[in-house]
């Protein structure tokens, strides 16, 4: 730490201006970046007209979801915030307590607060809506704090069940969004915007993962029929562009699935996304399986573990850890691929944007709309990437504090 030349300024100097040529390149790059940054900033502040976003913020968020039922989405968002805060806090404290507020966490909280203040103001939301966002942010941070403070007190027998919150919340969310159990039904045709994008993406991500694992195992199976079928499926899906599969799905999925299950257009698209991503996840998992020394399975089997137990307890935990980065990469492209839904006429984020831009009142405001879209997608993908890195770190036995 105290070695000479380790202050930030000195380090900058050493890294950017080590030699005259390095210095020249650095200067040119800095100048270029400054020019681009300033131009974008000037456009954002003085030229762009954000009225198109402000007037349509609800449309971008949830599409044509009925106004009198939108409280259900607010409720869901609050529950999600609470669960996120809880998980975040518990992950920091269990099973081995780290510092209560590491630097990254303080940074994240600062960012959340800034976002909660700036975003509603910039969008010029009504006071009541602004207030809701502030409350949601506050509950996220509070539950993070509470979980960090009292997480240790949860009895170990109970801890194992905590992750179940998420599947339960997902099911509850499905009910809240689509209705049933006494709630007015809101058909998928009325979902839109970010809601539809996140819903189809999360549905596909959740289902394509187990499907992909099964396909990868099938591909390495000793049963020739199973192996052949898996290979055929994977290679067929990977050889076809998603957009053709989406159109195909709209046309034939209705025939393939039995009557009651024949889903409407949104669910058809979600299933196609799932089947599509599963093939790519299978390839990621296969590389994880291939990286595992064969001695691992032999050792498990020679201890008397039957094949399914050997897979669950020995092979998959190791293979999936290796496959995790590539798998999350697939999830991220899946999220971006949801924009193709707009091409089959669904009002996902991009589809909504296209209807807004087609409105004569907002003609020529494409730049503003696309910039917001890009930022929204970037945020979602960054969240996925961060989550995966945290998971990777946590799953690595040699980086967990357990060894101390």
């Amino acid at each position: 730490m105290n070695t000479p030349g380790s202050s930030p300024l000195q380090r900058l100097r050493r890294e950017l201006f080590a030699s005259p040529l390095d210095g020249l390149i650095s200067l040119l790059l800095i100048g270029f970046l400054l020019a681009v940054g300033l131009a974008v900033l000037r456009w954002m502040l003085f030229q762009a007209q954000w009225a198109v976003i402000q007037a349509n913020s609800t449309l971008f968020a949830v599409g044509r979801y009925p106004v009198d039922q939108q409280w259900r989405l607010w409720l869901l968002t609050s529950l999600l915030a609470l669960a996120s805060g809880l998980s975040w806090g518990l992950l920091r404290r269990l099973p081995h307590p780290g510092p209560a507020w590491p630097r990254n966490d303080r940074l994240a909280v600062g960012l959340l607060i800034a976002l909660a203040v700036v975003a509603p103001l910039a969008l010029q939301l009504q006071a009541s809506v602004q207030l809701r966002w502030w409350l949601i942010t506050a509950s996220l941070i509070t539950s993070r704090w509470a979980a960090g403070r009292w997480g240790q007190a949860i009895p170990p027998a109970l801890r194992r069940w905590i992750p179940l919150i998420w599947p339960l919340l997902y099911l509850a969310g499905m009910v809240l969004i689509s209705g049933g159990l006494g709630l007015v039904s809101v058909p998928p045709s009325e979902w839109g915007g970010l809601l539809l994008t996140l819903l189809t993406a999360s549905f596909a991500i959740l289902l394509c993962f187990p499907l992909g694992v099964l396909l990868a195992l099938g591909r390495r199976s000793e049963l020739p029929l199973l192996r052949g079928a898996s290979v055929l499926y994977i290679e067929f899906i990977r050889g076809a562009p998603l957009i053709t599969l989406l159109f195909l799905g709209q046309n034939i999925l209705g025939f393939l699935l039995p009557g009651g299950l024949a889903p409407d257009r949104v669910w058809r698209a979600a299933w196609v996304l799932t089947f599509f991503a599963a093939a790519y996840v299978a390839e990621a998992v296969r590389s994880g399986l291939a990286a595992l020394p064969p001695g691992q399975l032999e050792a498990a089997r020679s201890l008397g573990l039957p094949m399914p137990l050997a897979l669950i307890h020995v092979v998959l935990p190791q293979a999936l850890r290796v496959a995790l980065p590539a798998t999350v990469g697939q999830f991220i492209s899946l999220l971006q691929d949801t924009t193709l839904l707009s091409l089959i006429g669904l009002l996902d984020l991009l589809g909504t944007a296209r209807t807004v831009m087609a409105n004569p009142a907002f003609l020529g405001k494409n730049g503003e709309v696309y910039l917001v879209l890009a930022v929204l997608f970037w945020c979602c993908c960054a969240a996925l990437g961060l989550g995966s890195r945290a998971l990777e770190h946590r799953l690595n036995p040699l980086s967990s504090p357990a060894q101390a």
């Binding site: 001695g295 032999e298 201890l303 008397g304 573990l305 137990l309 190791q318």
Partner: protein, 252 residues
């Protein structure tokens, strides 16, 4: 040691005329016979590629064979999955490369199979596992991960992991070949103690001192066949076959 009256003790492994072809058509075993009685320690030696690993891996069905028969602890090896799992529960195996599960702690490596396969209560298995770790001298490392141990320690954990299933037979496939020389002895000592406690063992190894001191019989394999089978004293001082003499002169 029971080797003085082997025929009186129960037969634990009986291999008759075992022949094996690998999928590429190569015949690795050409009619191998071997009988191992309870409490015996049989050491298998032979040049590289002679089929030693292939042979002992047929005992717990890690390798299939096409001709002949193998009976382990009274159960005839068949293709039936349940029969195979039943035999594997009674037969422990220690590998050259340890094959510990790197994502589990040492203690979890030991308790995994007894809890899942034998369905014994976790508490009880953990107590037994700690006892076993103490026996092989790595009691303090129970909560470390395999990657944090030396090779010799890892191999001792692997032995303890097998013992935790309370097997009636232990198979060792070159357990010390991947170890640095200074760690070989600690593993051999554990194995020697195991033999003294009456465990039935089949050991593929080229450790002459171990074979001399511990083995009931030494078996020499070459080109997929058993060439010579003799008590260690006779095998090392006065081998009957030319092939044995050749082999001994190479490793000495």
């Amino acid at each position: 040691m029971t080797s003085s009256t082997p025929s009186a003790a129960a037969v634990m492994i009986e291999a008759r005329g075992v022949e094996k072809w690998y999928p590429n058509g190569f015949q690795a075993l050409r009619g191998v016979d071997l009988t191992v009685h309870q409490g015996e320690v049989v050491v298998i030696m032979g040049p590289s590629g002679s089929g030693k690993s292939t042979f002992i891996r047929t005992f717990n069905a890690l390798e299939a064979f096409q001709k002949g028969s193998i009976t382990v602890d009274g159960m005839a090896l068949s293709d039936d999955v349940r029969n195979i799992d039943a035999i594997r529960r009674e037969v422990g195996m220690v590998f050259q490369q340890f094959n510990l599960f790197p994502h589990l702690t040492v203690l979890q490596n030991l308790t995994l199979a007894p809890v899942l396969v034998r369905r014994r209560p976790r508490r009880e298995v953990e107590r037994q596992a700690l006892d076993l770790l103490e026996r092989v001298g790595i009691h303090e490392q129970a909560h470390k991960y395999p990657g944090q141990l030396s090779g010799g320690q890892q191999q001792r954990v692997a032995i303890a992991r097998s013992l935790c299933m309370e097997p009636r037979i232990m198979l060792f496939d070159e357990p010390t070949s991947a170890l640095d020389p200074e760690m070989v002895q600690e593993v051999l000592e554990v194995m020697q103690e195991l033999a003294r406690d009456g465990m039935t063992m089949v050991v593929v190894t080229h450790e002459l001192r171990f074979a001399r001191r511990v083995a009931s019989r030494v078996v020499l394999m070459a080109d997929g066949e058993v060439v010579e089978e003799a008590p260690p004293e006779q095998f090392f001082t006065n081998p009957r076959h030319e092939r044995s003499r050749q082999f001994l002169s190479q490793i000495r």
